[in-house]
């Protein structure tokens, strides 16, 4: 697994030392909040509704057992015994006190972790598929190239004052789990004539003006990726609107100029940038790749798995919904759901974190992943170990068999914690999950992704939920807009609004009506919600939600 270079470690230690002094000066009254705020934000410390919040980075969502143990330690020692995993593959602590932050950061540094957020208008942490290096459908592990991009962009002199922040995501598989079409740049590792290269998308993003990324290059050879990405960022750096924060992201630049125009400019710029790369980056890339080498997989019979699968219906249900195909024979990728029905999506207690850390050590080559869907992954488990893994998970409330189902809901912290929120998200998620668990139709419904945001910033990815829910403040009352047909994968789409929003107590009934409509309209149980929606369009759902008249209008439109 990737480990820091000495340079990185020294950098983090120095930053922690500086921040400790800054906290002391703030407490002593020698720094004003205006002076301190940018410093604390750089170190991942936010002030939320009820308390401070510390956001800890988990690069590529990849961590080992010792790191997870430290996350548990922080939760127990300096917080209220739990942590919240987010859609940015981070963990957030909701209750730390200012005085304790430097100690928390030092504890993190001991396991090579930090809370440094590349904040400001720079290139942010590069994200990658959470099944990277494990999934059967992968051309190559996307993390080495993500790490190469991180090293290239960190402190890049030309890109410290970009028009706005810039986010890059990388996937190595055709099936997109990294939501690359909703990033400023999305990169897909592809293979052509036996050679590795990259398909590059540009101009995606959620938030106030959601856009789906467009392909700017179908194949950029391996050795040309950095100069090519540099050309893209540099074209935007010149063209990007600095006059209006809401129009500054590259998605607006691409939208205003058109993808052809941007492509032509990038190609012209690329002629320049490629000359500046002398191949050192290729040597670095090889070193990075070595660090992400796959663990030594073992060869063993799978009889124990088969026996448990045949004998135990609870295990079978879990295996059917929470396992994915691994590239190594006899192995599986196991997802641990942090979405027990009625619980807060993405929350794990310190005890649960320790259990997951121990499972990784005992059965998972000491690796864990955090998904943007707020679950945890054991990326490499031999199938024969799965019955035992499941038994341990079950004993700790971690064996919910609902990955990809209606109760596997993404929800941002919303107004229960977030200072920017316009409404709550968490209770809505809890109520939906509880209701559909009572109805016992979750498995019958099949794949259905609900995503909830507590404001237009869209941290809960509501635009790309099959059902998206956006919490708003309508004249001092929480009100929820529902969208249908969003999709976060390689067939990405922005959801379409059903119509007027619903009050908090109207959301669960509305979701029920939507689901009933789907089950009535689907041609067979195999047709997923999204497929049905794409076939029928909005009309039957509008009728179910707002009555016959609204449905007719939707049909005529």
């Amino acid at each position: 697994m990737y480990s820091y270079t000495d340079f990185d470690a020294a950098f983090v230690a120095e930053r922690n030392r500086q921040f400790r002094a800054q906290v002391e000066r703030r407490i002593a009254g020698n720094l004003t909040e205006d002076e301190f705020k940018p410093l604390r934000l750089m170190n991942g410390l936010y002030l939320q509704l009820h308390a401070y919040m510390l956001r800890v980075a988990i690069p590529y969502g990849t961590l080992n057992g010792a790191q997870m143990d430290t996350l548990a330690l922080l939760a127990e020692k300096w917080d209220k015994g739990y942590g919240h995993f987010t859609t940015r593959q981070n963990i957030q602590y909701n209750w730390p006190e200012l005085r304790d932050i430097p100690d928390m950061l030092d504890a993190l540094a001991e396991v090579q972790m930090h809370a440094i957020q590349t904040s400001g208008n720079t290139i942010r942490n590069v994200t990658a598929d959470h099944f990277a290096g494990a999934t059967a459908d992968e051309v190559a592990d996307p993390r080495p190239v993500a790490e190469l991009l991180r090293q290239w962009s960190t402190d890049h002199p030309e890109f410290q004052f970009l028009p706005r922040k810039f986010k890059i995501a990388v996937t190595g598989a055709e099936q997109d789990r990294a939501v690359i079409k909703a990033h400023d740049i999305g990169i897909q590792v592809v293979e052509k004539d036996g050679k590795i290269g990259y398909r590059v998308l540009v101009g995606g993003g959620l938030g106030r003006t959601p856009m789906i990324g467009k392909e700017i290059a179908s194949f950029v050879p391996q050795q040309e990726l950095l100069p090519y990405v540099e050309a893209v960022v540099s074209v935007w750096n010149l063209l990007g609107r600095r006059d209006n924060k809401y129009k500054a992201r590259i998605k607006i630049t691409v939208h205003e100029h058109g993808i052809e125009d941007i492509r032509a400019r990038v190609d012209a710029r690329f002629e320049e940038t490629r000359k500046a790369f002398d191949g050192t980056d290729l040597a670095i890339f090889d070193e990075i790749k070595a660090q992400f080498a796959a663990p030594a997989f073992r060869n063993a019979p799978e009889d124990d798995f088969t026996a448990a699968y045949d004998a135990d219906p609870v295990f079978r249900a879990w295996a059917d919904s929470n396992l994915s195909a691994h590239k190594a024979p006899g192995y599986a990728i196991a997802q641990i759901s942090l979405k027990a029905h009625g619980a807060t999506p993405g929350d794990a207690t310190a005890e649960q974190m320790r259990v997951m850390a121990q499972l990784a050590r005992d059965f998972g080559h000491d690796e864990l992943r955090i998904t943007h869907e707020q679950n945890v992954v054991l990326p490499h488990v031999h199938k024969s170990d799965l019955p035992q893994v499941h038994k341990i998970l079950k004993a700790h409330g971690l064996a919910t068999a609902n990955i990809g189902k209606i109760s596997d809901i993404i929800a941002c912290p919303g107004m229960d914690y977030c200072a920017l929120a316009t409404a709550r998200s968490i209770p809505i998620a809890q109520e939906i999950a509880t209701r559909f668990d009572e109805l016992k139709i979750e498995n019958d419904i099949g794949e259905l992704k609900i995503k909830i945001s507590g404001c237009i910033n869209a941290c809960g990815h509501h635009h790309v939920g099959h059902i998206g829910i956006l919490g708003l403040d309508r004249a001092g009352v929480e009100n929820y807009q529902i969208t249908l047909g969003g999709d976060a994968t390689e067939t990405a789409a922005i959801g379409e609004r059903t119509g007027p929003g619903f009050p908090a107590e109207g959301v669960v009934p509305a979701i029920e009506r939507i689901v009933e409509t789907y089950m009535k309209e689907r041609t067979s149980p195999e047709e997923t919600f999204l497929q049905t929606f794409r076939r029928t369009g909005m009309a039957p759902f509008k009728t179910a939600l707002y009555g016959e008249e609204a449905g007719k209008k939707a049909r005529a439109a």
Binding site: I27, G29, P96
Partner: protein, 99 residues
Amino acid sequence: MPKAFTPKVVTANALLEGDVIYLGADDTWVRDLADAEIITDEAIAQMRLLDAQSRASEAVGVYLADMAPTDSGPEPTHFREAFRATGPSNYSHGKQERA
């Protein structure tokens, strides 16, 4: 006729704990909304706000929040202030935990 002034409390987050605090009539910071001073005069509200903002080593993000006066003290007119006064709805943490 000028619009009637909505009564206010001065509120912020405590520098050390981050906890929600309110300004009491005796100029101390109080943790419980019921103990906050409710201000019904606009000019006084502005003065109290400026005073409070100058206490930068105690409080962060000082502002005036709308309240309705009741027999049991100020009551939030907006749900955001109601959450600040009690805590999150998914766990009994924050102020409700100590109540």
